[in-house]
Subunit: 247 residues, 6 copies
């Protein structure tokens, strides 16, 4: 059940049986020569939509632009400043909580979002913690590749060159979701360098084609399907447990 | 050409031939008994994607949550505060301008966004106007139903009960785009009341099922297709003229 | 009854009989060769003060600087950033609501303010809409030239060259209010060009002396008086209805 | 020369001969049983306008709402939060500096504004101090009653009961400026209590009719005129020296 | 009793007997050739810690960076923008008030902080004043050199060249607190110039070695001890009275 | 070399030989029955000061209040909202960068700060990444217990009950630094429970005395000294390498 493809009455009925919702959250940023700019938003969206189809869990629209300042030297990247993302997430959270949602599960597709997502959770809780009242809602963030069992599947699928940005795994998931957008590009070098980065200029100087440690030319829709379906099942299990928890 | 389904190199190549981009911008808010919560984001997205397919114009990801405070008494609605939307639009604009885009065309799907979009444009221009330097980019907002010729088509298609919120036209466009999400709901009353509103409680008291002046049970995918394709053509014409203009 | 020329006890007594207040809101920005920089603040102020004198309606001090970024290339213009104006209007609204005012009528003198005023209203309502409580106050914005019947009078008075910035009408109203500030300037060209604008540099390049589509040398205090008095009556009628409404 | 009653060309010409401008800044807040809510904005405005008439110095529109949180328990008071006032003053300063003004003299009418005005100056200078470049403009704040010689005149005019809020002096200045707004009210007690305050509830509890230490029933337009004209002369001298200074 | 060297149970027990807390607040900024960059934070901290030791009054951690924009042309200075300091002080105040503290005494070590501290107090009170409820807490700021009797001691100790920045007195207090950090530097000129300043470049141009009006080479730990102990006693008296007051 | 105990000339001289600075950053929050409220600020401060003494590396004042919303149900805790901390860190960073520092090493003492520190780094880099220019400075955050080799020492020292909040290790470090503040408290239960938390009420309900998974009654100054000195050496090595790096 996708929130944006439902009516308000359908959501109202859903709230009778569950207080939980999944929010895919990602980024719009370069993903190397054969990865889509939307990869980090599309992956959690694809997985969450599959989970919704299989389980009936409610999925919100995708928060599709995140913290991508370090990719700004590559055309097409869009970033929020962290202070903006704090404010925007606050409004999404406040809105959903207003309707009675008490378990908000952010399925994240971008490592660079993690810090700001956690800061946004603390910002939301702060209102309650400073007031002295008890906060009724719980916020959870999860990177899709860290769902139970998934990292192992990725490593098994791509024993060499899965990498850490523009990974073979994430490109594969998007190829499964968007087979019409498969790009046939030769990687040079085959496996991209590893390393750290600071701002956009530094990133581009260190990683000229945008990849970090990966050879995403290994990605295929079939491999993406396997990863996606495994992640789907892990998500259903984890989100369901979270929605049902009293903590 | 969709930005999030393209690589950065493809966007870089696009920038060689055009400085223009279309950004669908909408809202996630109740649309009555048979309208989707995502209607206002889906309509400009559907139209823009059709336009992109037909013309090659570049389309950004959809800015999918807007100003919907007045719909907050209906489950599933998500709103930004206007101050948050100003900040978020600023970051999107700054990011695209950084890459060399000079013509940003926001195709809007929600009347409630218009004021804040215009305020965001003024906020962006203010940086330049206060600095004394000349601003290289131009920002344009257009409600899809006000594209040349479209309002007439909507009125011809739905001479009675097109309405002003949860309109038959917009529901039809989403039914064209998402035929699996068609809802078969009887409207009571057949045509919803008209009127003004302030906050969410006021809105709900005046418009109990969310519609304003409309009978969206008239919507069909076929009617939606006709509107969408007309809007597509009007969008291509207007955006192309804007992208090529020197003003 | 002018708030700033009343005592607090007088305002307290007023609140016993009415919950409504008129707030003139304008801008400080160039108005061409013979228009005053204060035109857009002075017009709603003049009209509102006349209305107050004739009816006893309470009028607040004038919010005298607004969104004028596009006029910054002309000396003397002062602008707020839209985000600042949102915050300032919020504080004015919160203050008046604190005292028990429930109908706040902003009489606006500047087209460039409209979007931000509407965004500020949404910002104010958002607090209530997100809380789930019902908002006790109502906010209304009205451009003085769009008061019932006024645009027709302006067009009748100046059939040619009323224009859209530094209009003959608004200059006439200020000449009625400030006859000592009448400027005798020859317009070249007689009627200014029409068109669109973006930032300040763009505006100045397109409209070299600041006017848009107008020949304000037609303005006289007598014509201004006629417009002012008609607007006064229309304002009294509309504000009174608003103050008495239950919606 | 009043900015809002001048054209942009007149301001442009003024800038050829002076880089200085006076900005009256005040508050809209209760001033006891016979003082106007606008007193703190009207006093610096009256004095500055007199100075302008006598000297040709340029005067900006009045910044008419300030920090009045402590008066919020009295009807009609309007306050800005200090953070809002910082932002609004920043925009006024940035706008004037953009046109080439280099000496901004804020003539203040409200003790409660002093801290925030000084903080706003520091905020403006911070941009330059953090950049490492030299700031071309200078900001000066002055309470009108602290202009050289004025406090002595006030004390001589009202040896008993001038007080510190709703002072006899300030009420007299407004009575000179607005003789039609003179209020004939008996004070009980004749001289109001002295003391400190925190928030609005505390203020009201301590100072039931709003006055602090004053008997403003002594105010007359004649006494107000004497104070005003002396302040006018002191302002002309001080502002001229500031405008001409190289520091 | 120092808050940061206590357990939460100890603070909880303290709150049974007192609702008051002292917060040292200062700045990190140049203090001339022999003054420590931390002088303005260290002085109130040294005095408050002595007072705590002698009386058991609770002292919070030191707010150690303040408004120092004007010192930014000297290496090592760290400044907050006033708007940032407003926000940070708000969070400190909200936190302490949450625990039941009702009397917050800020012992300040930096003249440049005074305006922003007062603005922060007004920001805190504004929440209550705009809500219409009575604020339970009271905020007090005091510059340590203005504690009763202290200025006289400073002037008696340094009849010539105490000055107004990098004063002999404050350097002496830090030499008493940090005898290992005494710097033996010859002053040229012996007494620094007096005057005003605006931004950092202006300050450096006017006061080349950072001092204003002072000869801090007179500072000794012994003189610092005398000042510190006197300030300690004055602080205990004033804070105790404030903590016990009902106003 | 401590910045706040140095003169500006000493810092200027330091900048001739190094562009690096260490900033201890922590929190003021409950640390269970025998841990100091300042633990998380004191630990990095103690270690950094030891490192400075041993190596001459420059250490800034301690950023002593951080993200502690979840501890607000325990008296004495002080928190910043994440949005405030972003702004404050920005000002510290901007100030240090202004003087020519290019390597800012934040030695962190509080797990709850990590997300916001990383978000603050992204906020700082964003200015550069969006401008298109290359950022000259590098920002690094390190939790002191994750310095190379330290976690192992902590686990060896406290094989059972080191825990994850109010750890035996961190309490030991503060006991080494502040032997006069050692608290003799019996823990009940001996080892605190483990688990997750959200807001302050949730935290307190789950962890009644504030500890998570720890038995800090094992802490002694001797054990603290061993940990501190090992951390000191690891810090000197890592910070020196960072200061000298070209990346």
């Amino acid at each position: 059940m996708l929130l944006h493809q439902s009516t308000w009455q359908e959501v109202e009925a859903y709230l009778e049986r569950s207080k939980g919702i999944i929010i895919p959250i990602g980024s719009t940023e370069q993903h190397g020569p054969n990865g889509l700019l939307g990869t980090d938003a599309l992956c959690p969206e694809i997985i969450a939509h599959e989970a919704s189809k299989a389980s009936g869990l409610l999925v919100a629209p995708t928060f599709n632009v995140g913290i991508a300042q370090h990719h700004m030297a590559f055309a097409g990247t869009i970033t929020l400043r962290p202070s903006t993302m704090l404010a925007a997430m606050q409004d999404w959270i406040d809105s959903l909580v207003r309707h009675g949602f008490e378990r908000l599960y952010f399925l994240n597709g971008h490592g660079g979002n993690v810090a700001t997502i956690q800061a946004a959770f603390a910002e939301s809780y702060s209102d309650w913690s400073l007031s002295g009242e008890s906060c009724p809602h719980r916020l959870k963030g999860r990177n899709w590749w860290e769902l139970p069992g998934i990292m192992q599947i990725c490593r098994d699928t791509f024993p060499v060159g899965d990498g850490s940005h523009a990974t073979a795994s994430e490109v594969a998931v998007t190829y499964y979701g968007y087979p019409d957008s498969i790009k046939d590009v030769k990687m040079t070098p085959k496996i991209a360098p590893d390393g750290d980065f600071a701002d956009a200029a530094d990133y581009r100087a260190t990683f000229p084609d945008g990849r970090i440690g990966s050879d995403p030319s290994q990605a295929t829709p079939e491999k993406g399907e396997a990863i996606t379906l495994a992640a789907r099942d892990a998500l259903i299990a984890e989100a369901t447990a979270f929605f049902n928890s009293d903590d």
